[in-house]
């Protein structure tokens, strides 16, 4: 079945440094969603990308969808302690509403 691989699993950065997490699939994805889960919390939707090569920005966060729609990335510029959490990518499988999640990247930010 469809799998979405996400790297790295963990990332520790100094506050102010940049951070990037990557999502890859061996199959073409119809879309990609990104979620953030704070420690002890539940996943919260950040954004959805649908078009090949699409780039969307939310303040310091930049989301990209690859030209071949097989990979995606989330880049955070100048991290802050409020960025701490686990970032998941996810994509819909087949023609159903089943959402397949990547393993997540846990970000720690040292003040």
């Amino acid at each position: 079945g469809q799998q979405v691989m996400q790297i790295p699993q963990y990332q520790h950065v100094q506050e102010g440094e940049d951070f990037t997490t990557y999502c890859n699939s061996s199959t073409t994805l119809s879309n990609i969603q990104w979620y953030k889960q704070r420690p002890g919390g539940h996943p919260v939707f950040l954004i959805q990308l649908v078009k090949s090569g699409e780039v969307k920005k939310q303040k310091r966060l930049t989301f990209q969808f690859g030209e071949a729609k097989k990979n995606s990335s989330l880049h955070i510029t100048a991290t802050q302690t409020t960025d701490v959490g686990t970032y998941f990518c996810a994509s819909f499988s087949g023609n159903t509403g089943k959402l397949i999640f990547g393993q997540g990247t846990t970000l720690q930010v040292k003040p």
Partner: protein
């Protein structure tokens, strides 16, 4: 309601007992999802409802797991004869129509099987 709610928030049970977890989706949302998240792990899809029907049950780990939804609203996830490996956070999410839409997650039920 304002968001997805789940109950109980925490459940401790003994191995071999049955448990029922409840999810109240956002009013009007036709799609409802159950996920399992083990400590430090990602989200594992369990089952998906469109209305009261479950077109995809492929994620249920064993026949000890079952779920139902009634009135296109509340859903219950039942785990029979619980095992220690069932310990996890069980998350419910809902979306307005289903595929391609934002999923709104509930706070989860933390299940501990002793």
């Amino acid at each position: 309601g304002a968001g997805v709610s789940q109950s109980p928030s925490n459940k401790v049970t003994e191995k071999g007992k049955d448990v029922e977890l409840r999810c109240d989706p956002i009013s009007g949302h036709t799609a409802l999802y159950w996920y399992r998240q083990r400590l430090g792990q990602g989200l594992e899809f369990l089952i998906y409802f469109q209305g009261n029907s479950a077109p995809d049950k492929s994620g249920l780990p064993s026949d000890r797991f079952s779920a139902e939804r009634t009135g296109e609203s509340v859903s219950t996830l039942t785990i029979q004869r619980t095992q220690q490996e069932d310990s996890a956070v069980y998350l419910c999410a809902s979306s307005l129509l289903g595929r391609g839409e934002t999923q709104y997650f509930g706070p989860g039920t933390r299940l501990l099987v002793l």
